[in-house]
Symmetry: C2
Subunit: 409 residues, 2 copies
Amino acid sequence: MSYVKALKCRECGHEYPKQPTHVCEFCFGPLEVVYDYEGIKKILTKELIGSRGPNMWRYKELLPIDNDPTVGKQVGFTPLRRASRLARLLGVSELYIKNDAVNYPTLSFKDRVVSVALSKAKEFGFKVVACASTGNLANSVAANAAAADLESFVFVPYDLEATKILGTMIYGTNLIGIHGTYDEVNRLCSEIAGKYKWAFVNINMRPYYAEGSKSMGYEIVEQLGWNTPKHVVVPMASGSLLTKIDKSFQEFHKIGLLKTNEAKIYGAQATGCSPISTAVKNNWDIFKPVKPNTIAKSLAIGNPADGFYAAKTVHQTGGWCEDVSDEEVIAGIRVLAETEGIFAETAGGVTVGVAKKLIEQGRIPKNESIVLCITGNGLKTQEAVRLGKPPVIKPSLTEFDALVKDKIK
Amino acid sequence: MSYVKALKCRECGHEYPKQPTHVCEFCFGPLEVVYDYEGIKKILTKELIGSRGPNMWRYKELLPIDNDPTVGKQVGFTPLRRASRLARLLGVSELYIKNDAVNYPTLSFKDRVVSVALSKAKEFGFKVVACASTGNLANSVAANAAAADLESFVFVPYDLEATKILGTMIYGTNLIGIHGTYDEVNRLCSEIAGKYKWAFVNINMRPYYAEGSKSMGYEIVEQLGWNTPKHVVVPMASGSLLTKIDKSFQEFHKIGLLKTNEAKIYGAQATGCSPISTAVKNNWDIFKPVKPNTIAKSLAIGNPADGFYAAKTVHQTGGWCEDVSDEEVIAGIRVLAETEGIFAETAGGVTVGVAKKLIEQGRIPKNESIVLCITGNGLKTQEAVRLGKPPVIKPSLTEFDALVKDKIK
């Protein structure tokens, strides 16, 4: 039983049947999934959701597959944690971390979109799946395809972090490094998708794939006792996640699971690749593609596919965008780890750094609820953080006493 | 409200009040927590458990803290996943992976024991916590202490994997490398514990700490629809986890949540550090401490504190022990990743390798349910797996066509 009615062009409104396609044939606008919200409203209650397992499929009526999921059945429902120590440091009263750094199976929010995309690819009958990736998506497609017995091809910039390379190859995928930026990888993949007729999760499967991100927003609402926070800070690569978190709140409001939806949504980028935040901060109507130069490689998309819609969402909700230097990214990673015991990847450092900046600017008020979206695990981007080596002593109490004598009162 | 009655010596039965101590003053036997099972039986129902959040504290009556947890409130309830592809490869009919590689917050089962130990340490009024660790415990103590605003000291062998060093230091702990094996680290820590009066989670807090492992067993039972599997394979370092999984099944049986408990429990070690499996396989009554030499560093305890009890549990349940070479460990990691999309650390490779061996030996029958306990994440022990580099091409369809022309039909 599916509540998906069709695909629909976000620009001209032309409708298409459910098929593996992502661009309007008439105006080249992006296609989006359309649901029967009246039907969903009749059946999807808080009680029904609460009776289901702790994973993203507890909201399955709002996800675009026709049958029960076949891939990634245990993805999602990651912890939302009150972050009192970080809140104190930032001078705010009510702060939460939504922690996809422990998402199953590959420790990033990409497991959400991939489980939808691959479940849908199986429904369409594909045997081969593929993606262009800055790293997290590579890990997730490789792992979930392996578990689902699908062949996979994964395309990444050749200079990706070693951990993201190993954390992809381990699953036995066909990993191919491309001499170029993510944007060049992406263009090549569009050509390959056209020729080889595979399910490219973020190309021809994109309308379905992107919907998976909504589950992060649904979970935030449920975990806050069926309320949105007042402010949400979201890292932006393509910008898709930010738009989908907004969509999740709107949908819950539409089907009666949220009384009000006043959440303001803020986009976070690294200054070394900040096409969206630059456009928002300058009130530009157009985007200037950039050549990325930042340690936040998972966000290094210089020509973001959903940048326009992300900026629109930020404006419509009353949010804002900011970007931070690589030094601020590292500081953000460290402060989150030291105060909350959560080790996030560079994108998480971006989110924390931008939140700090927006709070200092007064754009996010100090006395209202704030959620920071942490989208990936710090073990994946270890190169970014250099902490030196710990002291080494012999196994001797005397040596230990000497080592700590100044430290211990 | 606590159901803990006392601490009790496993050997002579002498009882002690709840205090931070772990050894019997009379016979030097290890102390264990004693519960009021009659009281627990009256209140802890499947319905009550089912009404609680998806974390280990849904079984809080069976965990040894007096009040609600203050540390690690969102730890546990990790996925139990049917592993059909790996099952096919191993020639068995019903196989499951219990996946603590995605445990919150530091991706190993140690978050379970640490959240109990630190919650208890706070109840006792400690301000400083500490541990001797082979790596995973280091990560977990550092992270959870940071989040709980406790100062921490973490002692590890100096030659630990780089990821486990960084994944500890990032939380701002006092990390100290010791020139020696884990067993030497542990001996030093006993001296430090005596002098500095800190809460060493696996020394003076050990009776409480070790109980946290039971939650992995409770979850397996609940996730299998309130049944034990017929066979469980558990990696062994100190041997404690194995004994506690058995204890969890016994307790659930005792309080009426399990009709029968016929689970056979199997211990897995790396051949390069296999004091427990060697003793079991040779029917020895005593253990020969060994000097570890294996890539499975998280299991590299040459003189295992609970080895005697682990061997006893294996015998009593009708299980067995085995050990595997480092090559088999790597093969185990790879086959789990390639068939199930789960990237486990070296200890997981040990578990998969030993399961394969026990199935081939006929010790584990092919037509009964089997659970493999995966206790840590593969990103932590990347050095162990060398996969080379992926091919790199220019962003050109022609180059891609040439690369895959032999691969694609």
